[in-house]
């Protein structure tokens, strides 16, 4: 295949993945719609383990008798939605491979913001699919899909850039390790942020009296489960982020610009993100900060993370994150982080 063919394969795959994500989203919405009439307790949620969230419970629990039709339809839609998501993730992966193969010389697909965003959303979706069973994430489906779809759309509409070779400073294997770990932790933190947001929503509806027994919020797992899933995702993301930002990042920076830590805006925000997540982990063990405040901190973390990923490029022009050729020319940040 020629480079041009790879590139159009990639573009085609992005469009296809977007479509399939959209179908998966619709399917999950249909799932939740069918569940509207099924009271939460009808599922296996009545079992005494706190680990079984309402949403999946219906999909797995045969005990329900109240509205079997609705529950079965929901179970079917739930499975279909998950399969569609898996398919979309696979196609999404093809789009990344296509980007890499289209470049000459072949390379990792993160030469510009478009490619970063493509990779970032891939990891979010992939982690969701991979952790689906372990953390029973069925309840997260509509949110993750909506998020991935929106960000993909932003990438295609505003960030798209044709395939181009990497600038010199970006061709380093440290960059590969650095970016892989950064993107993985971005994925985990994003899922953690979504969970924390849902925690806040649910805790609000619980304190307000939690009237409904069906509907999305009622079917979210219990607060304690949301809190724990969020913690686990962050606990996974934090060491990876530490590795990306405080180990491989500085090593690469030292190779490329002679200074392993230069308080460059990207570095500053990576540091801020790190400190906020350290605060989150502390908050969870500090009396009075548990639960709600910790969840708010997690959301602050998600904000700093994505701000650094995209926003800071528009706020500051001193970023060195590119080798611009001329010593006095900064600011052409094609590199993200």
């Amino acid at each position: 295949m020629t480079d041009v063919q790879w590139e159009s394969l990639s573009n085609w795959a992005v469009a296809a993945a977007g479509t399939v994500y959209f179908l998966a989203l619709l399917t999950h919405l249909a799932e939740w719609a069918s569940l509207r009439k099924v009271p939460v307790a009808a599922g296996a949620a009545a079992r005494d383990s706190v680990d079984i969230p309402g949403g999946v419970a219906v999909a797995t629990g045969p005990e329900g008798t109240a509205d079997d039709g609705g529950a079965q339809r929901a179970a079917f839609f739930g499975r279909l939605g998950y399969l569609l998501t898996c398919l979309a993730v696979a196609v999404h992966f093809v789009s990344l491979v296509g980007r890499g193969m289209a470049a000459d010389p072949n390379r990792v697909p993160w030469g510009n913001m478009y490619e970063f965003t493509l990779s970032g959303t891939f990891v979010v979706a992939f982690l969701y699919v991979a952790l689906y069973r372990k953390f029973r994430l069925a309840w997260m489906a509509p949110i993750v899909l909506a998020f991935v779809l929106t960000v993909l759309m932003v990438a295609v509409l505003w960030l798209y850039a044709p395939v181009a070779p990497l600038t010199e400073a970006l061709s380093s294997y440290w960059l590969v390790i650095h970016v892989v770990s950064a993107i993985i932790s971005v994925g985990a933190f994003t899922l953690g942020g979504i969970t924390s947001a849902l925690y806040l929503v649910k805790s609000r509806s619980v304190t307000k009296g939690g009237g409904t027994t069906s509907g999305y919020v009622a079917r979210l797992p219990e607060l304690a489960v949301l809190d724990r899933v969020s913690y686990r995702l962050h606990a996974f993301g934090f060491p990876v982020w530490t590795f990306a930002v405080l180990i491989t990042g500085p090593i690469w920076a030292h190779q490329a610009w002679s200074s392993y830590w230069n308080w460059d805006p990207k570095e500053v925000w990576a540091f801020i993100t790190w400190v906020v997540y350290a605060a989150y982990l502390h908050a969870r063990t500090t009396a009075g900060w548990k639960g709600r405040n910790a969840a708010i901190l997690a959301l602050v973390g998600t904000f700093t993370l994505w701000f650094n990923f995209i926003g800071i490029n528009y706020f500051s022009t001193t970023s060195q994150h590119s080798y611009a050729g001329a010593p006095e020319v900064h600011g052409t940040v094609q590199a993200g982080d």
Partner: protein, 541 residues
């Protein structure tokens, strides 16, 4: 399941309205209310400072305090941009300067936050290390009287004797590497001691990283120099164009190396979306680690620095130095050589000056631009560069005569002319007199001033040199921190208690577990243990 009545646990917890009243009562000695001894005050301050809540708040403050430095240009990051910003904001500049906003990361307030955080950290780690040390050898704590109060618990009755059940439980738990003690008919088991060790290692390593980072910024230096092809550089302070030492840096620590730039090449992309970009920068150096060492050679590339001792040499930029010769009115050569022009954009359109201060009858200054691949824009009426590669190079310069103030002793930038006492050469019609030269061309200046020729082109490279002591300390610190972090986050510390009581009709066995970490998940732990106790029980009977 039955829940036996409980007497022990509840009495200690629970909001006791009388408790708060107690503290407001005057103390039982002759001090007035609210009066603290200095000792008590200090202890109170210390306890506040080392509390987890304070650590949390300080962390958040640190994050907040780091923000201004990413929005306001920083002297240490980009001095040029900072001074431009300062000129553009004359009102804000003095205020910002007072607040240290142009060098946030060594300002008093930023330092105050992280120094407080460090004190808090030490005050936190030390006591916890002692506690951990003692706890490491201590036996797991005795079983609470009422195991069914714990969130994870189970109860079953069996026909086996209590001793047999406890014996089996011990075997099972020992196999799972629990530390076990038996007291009053109950087993206490605990595992996951390394979690706390990991946590301590992590926090300790944060200090190590800071020490390493501090060493680098106090004792290290960073400097840049532009070296034209065929020229050399020896590592002394005076040879640098810009030099940024740490506050405790001593020039005696500089490595006495020397290098010469033999060649520089770059691959220019001529098609594709990044056409005009260059890659594959390669500067070949000959170097000596010290004057007495043999010469070696090295291909200096981006991402591929040269390390000499504890100093690193980096290639961070490149540009062109047109070779310009000026002869004065007497025909004497008053200026000759490659002249470094600084690129102003991606096409390597560059600016530079020539100062011929010894020229007769009057000093000559040239100021202008260099275009690697020249083109003319009808729209703007000026030249511009199409491409960074020197396909059709040209210089275009204005001529100044008069006093260039080169002999006053005040240092001048080699990239700008002091034009205060000069006049610009003009044509008869009043338009500026312009020298447009391609390589090999020369032009006779009017009024018998002399001649200027453009003899050729040399590339130059921008070299960054840095010495960062403590970088290995910092790196090992972060790696240790990461290892500690992994232990601290993923080792699950847990306690399990098994109590067996012989009653009429069988033995009542209670099993309970407690997770001592934030995110632990005990689901299945108790169930599995019960299942295994019952299974082995059946096997034996």
């Amino acid at each position: 399941m039955t829940t036996p009545p409980d007497h022990s646990l509840r009495s200690r917890s629970g909001g006791d309205p009388g408790g708060t009243a107690l503290s407001t009562r005057p103390p039982e000695d002759d001090r007035r209310p609210g009066e603290l001894t200095l000792r008590e005050l200090l202890r109170w301050v210390w306890r506040q400072l080392t509390s987890m809540r304070t650590a949390l708040i300080l962390l958040l403050l640190l994050a907040l305090a780091a923000i201004p430095g990413s929005v306001i240009p920083q002297e240490g990051v980009d001095a040029l941009k900072t001074s431009n910003w300062q000129t553009a904001h004359p009102k804000l500049t003095p205020i910002y300067d007072k607040l240290g906003l142009f060098s946030v990361y060594d300002s008093v307030w930023f330092s105050a936050i992280y120094i407080l955080l460090m004190i808090s950290l030490v005050g936190c780690i030390l006591p916890r290390t002692f506690v951990y040390w003692r706890g490491m050898r201590a036996k797991p704590p005795a079983a609470p009287r009422n195991l069914s109060r714990l969130p994870e618990h189970a109860l079953y009755s069996t026909s086996d004797g209590a001793d047999a059940v406890l014996e089996r439980a011990q075997q099972t738990l020992r196999r799972q590497r629990y530390r076990i003690s038996v007291q009053d008919g109950a087993i206490s088991a605990e595992r996951g001691y390394l979690r706390e060790a990991g946590n301590l290692l992590f926090h300790l390593s944060v200090l190590v990283v800071l020490v390493g980072f501090g060493l680098g910024s106090l004792y290290g230096y960073k400097g840049g120099v532009i070296v034209v092809k065929d020229n050399g550089f020896s590592n002394t302070v005076s040879q640098y164009d810009d030099f940024d030492p740490g506050s405790l840096f001593s020039a005696d620590d500089m490595e006495p190396f020397y290098f010469k730039v033999d060649d520089f090449t770059a691959d220019w992309l001529t098609d594709g979306p990044r056409a005009g970009m260059a890659r594959g920068f390669d500067a070949s150096l000959t170097y000596q680690e010290s004057l007495s060492d043999p010469e070696k050679s090295y291909d200096l590339k981006v991402n591929h620095p040269l390390s000499i001792g504890n100093t690193d040499v980096f290639l961070i930029g490149h540009g062109y130095a047109p070779i310009i010769t000026v002869k004065d009115g007497n025909g004497d050569e008053v200026y000759s050589g490659p002249t470094v022009f600084l690129p102003i954009n991606d096409t390597f359109q560059s600016i530079g000056v020539v100062k011929a201060a010894t020229a007769e009858p009057t000093q000559i200054g040239l100021e202008g631009e260099f275009y690697p691949t020249v083109s003319f824009s009808k729209q703007t009426g000026s030249y511009y560069s199409l491409f960074g590669k020197p396909v059709d190079p040209m210089i275009s310069m204005l001529v100044y005569t008069g006093d260039l103030h080169m002999k006053d002793g005040t240092p001048q930038s080699i990239y700008s002319l002091d034009k205060s006492d000069t006049t610009m050469l003009t044509k008869k019609n009043g338009a500026p007199y312009r020298l447009d030269l391609r390589p090999g061309q020369s032009v006779k200046l009017p009024n018998g001033l002399g001649t200027v020729s453009f003899d050729g082109l040399q590339p130059w490279v921008k070299i960054q040199i840095s010495q960062t002591p403590g970088k290995w300390i910092a790196l090992s610190g972060v790696v240790a921190a990461l290892i500690g972090l992994l232990g601290s986050l993923f080792i699950r510390p847990r306690r399990i208690w098994v109590r067996a009581r012989e009653e009429e009709g069988g033995t009542l066995v209670e099993v309970a577990a407690l997770d001592r970490s934030g995110g632990g998940d005990l689901t299945g732990l108790v169930g599995d243990l019960v299942a295994s106790l019952q299974r082995t029980g059946k096997d034996e009977t």
